[in-house]
Amino acid sequence: MQLFFLIKEGLAGFKRARLATGISVLTMSLALTLVGLFVLFILNVFQSYQSQFQSIHLRAYLSGTLSEEQQQSLQREIAALAEVQSATIITPAAAAEEFSKDFGPELLEILDENPLPASLDIILKEGMTDLGAINQFIDQLTAREAIDEVSFQETLVRLMNRYFFVGILIAGTVGILVFAIAAMLIYNTIRLTIHSRQTVIDIMRLVGATHRFIKAPFIIEGILQGLLGSLIALSLLWLLVRGASLLLLPVVPIPLYFMGGLVLTGIGLGLIGSYMSVGNYLRL
């Protein structure tokens, strides 16, 4: 009877204070969308950072005097090195095709012959991110007569090395701030919702309801508001991610653990917010 009454009261709260509850759910969904957007942004940045770092590509341009067999034997030799994950031969024809794709075919058409040399696309092993070590390895490669030159995106690696921890620090601080703002916003809206139900709480106190009994329907309502708010936020985020991928932006799909986390965050904030708000009101 009691549990049934409490759940019924919690659900009825939605209907009884429609405007306040509606605003509360809306605020919750917007606040959670904000938090979710931030987390998704960080996830995407982290993912692309990882993919860049997991596969640092070197391009070793081969001497034009090498025969095909010599190229293949060099490829096998380099692929076997401890620092290397894989090495692939890029023939002049493949290089030309790649060039045409990037810059258009016109430039090559002007020339009578293909000026691009054969090269090796070398992918370094995971964790090989230290700039000094990479440069040392490049020196080893260029010391060979068969290799004319080695190039890679040095600036990008340098920047990533330098700003990775600063990035984590900034993202962490901003993340905590965004979450705190969202939590405050949610707490205050729940407080307003509860304030609009003063009479019910006053009557409950007056007729001798225990604090636990007074709090329960509001907590149930808070949990429901959190659940609803997080589901709306998830839908908004899904639409945004879908929109971004339709615009061909390289976004990762929303992971399942993120969805679960956002719903749990919503429920948690609704629960804590309502518990604290009624608690404060009862202490007055």
Binding site: L206, V207, A209, F213
Partner: protein, 225 residues
């Protein structure tokens, strides 16, 4: 049943009650009068322990203000009925639901609710209007619903804070009749009021609050200036 021992209360810097001692027994009927701000509401709040004395103590039923625990206060309030000038009804619930609410929130069984609510509504003469919403009732009827809400818990005392303040003289007379009727069945009543016509027409013992002190006078002995 209710005993005040040298109770003092300060609200901010002002001393509202100054070492008052008082005893209310089962079946008593008291008016509580005094100027605005004299401490009538404060005295009533002390009884349902919505406010605690700054010094001295009071005993209500088996609860002593000096020793009562926070979780015991709801148990005390189940035995003390309180009604107000503004009725404090839930506007989005029917008459029946308003009265039943008092039992539901203390975890009463549905069997008790089904029995006690109609009985209380019959006692205040509103059983036939049990499905009405409060805004469809007159002021006097709304106050009757508030009274019925206290009656379902079978309180030993009914505290009424200006219960006729919002009512016309006829409705006020009806409410007074109802309170006297409840009192005759053994429930003590303490009624704070400014309505001296009622005190004249329905004389009872009166607690006069003046400059933090109490004085009790017998029925018809109040000098109404």
């Amino acid at each position: 049943m209710i005993e005040f021992y040298n109770v003092s209360v300060n609200l901010g810097r002002r001393q509202v009650l100054n070492s008052i001692s008082l005893e209310i027994k089962k079946g008593d009927f008291y008016y509580l009068i005094g100027k605005t701000g004299a401490g009538k509401t404060t005295l009533l709040r002390l009884i349902y322990m919505d406010l605690m004395p700054d010094s001295g103590n009071l005993v209500v039923d088996r609860f002593n203000s000096a020793r009562i625990r926070r979780h015991q206060i709801p148990l005390l309030r189940r035995k003390v009925g309180v009604i107000f000038q503004d009725f404090k009804l839930l506007p989005d619930r029917t008459v029946f639901e308003n009265v039943a609410f008092a039992l539901q929130v203390i975890g009463a069984r549905s069997y008790d609710i089904k029995n006690k609510v109609p009985a209380a509504l019959t006692r205040v003469g509103l059983y036939h209007k049990r499905y009405r919403m409060p805004h469809h009732l007159s002021g006097g009827e709304q106050q009757r619903v508030a009274i019925a809400r206290t009656l379902v818990s079978e309180p030993f005392i009914l505290l009424a804070d200006e219960p006729t303040g919002n009512l016309d003289p006829d409705a006020a007379g009806d409410i007074m009749g109802l309170l006297e009727n409840i009192n005759r069945s053994g429930t003590a009543v303490m009624m704070a009021t400014h309505n001296y016509d009622i005190i004249r027409q329905k004389p009872h013992r009166t607690i006069i609050l003046d400059r933090g002190k109490v004085r009790i006078v017998g029925p018809g002995e109040v000098s109404l200036g």
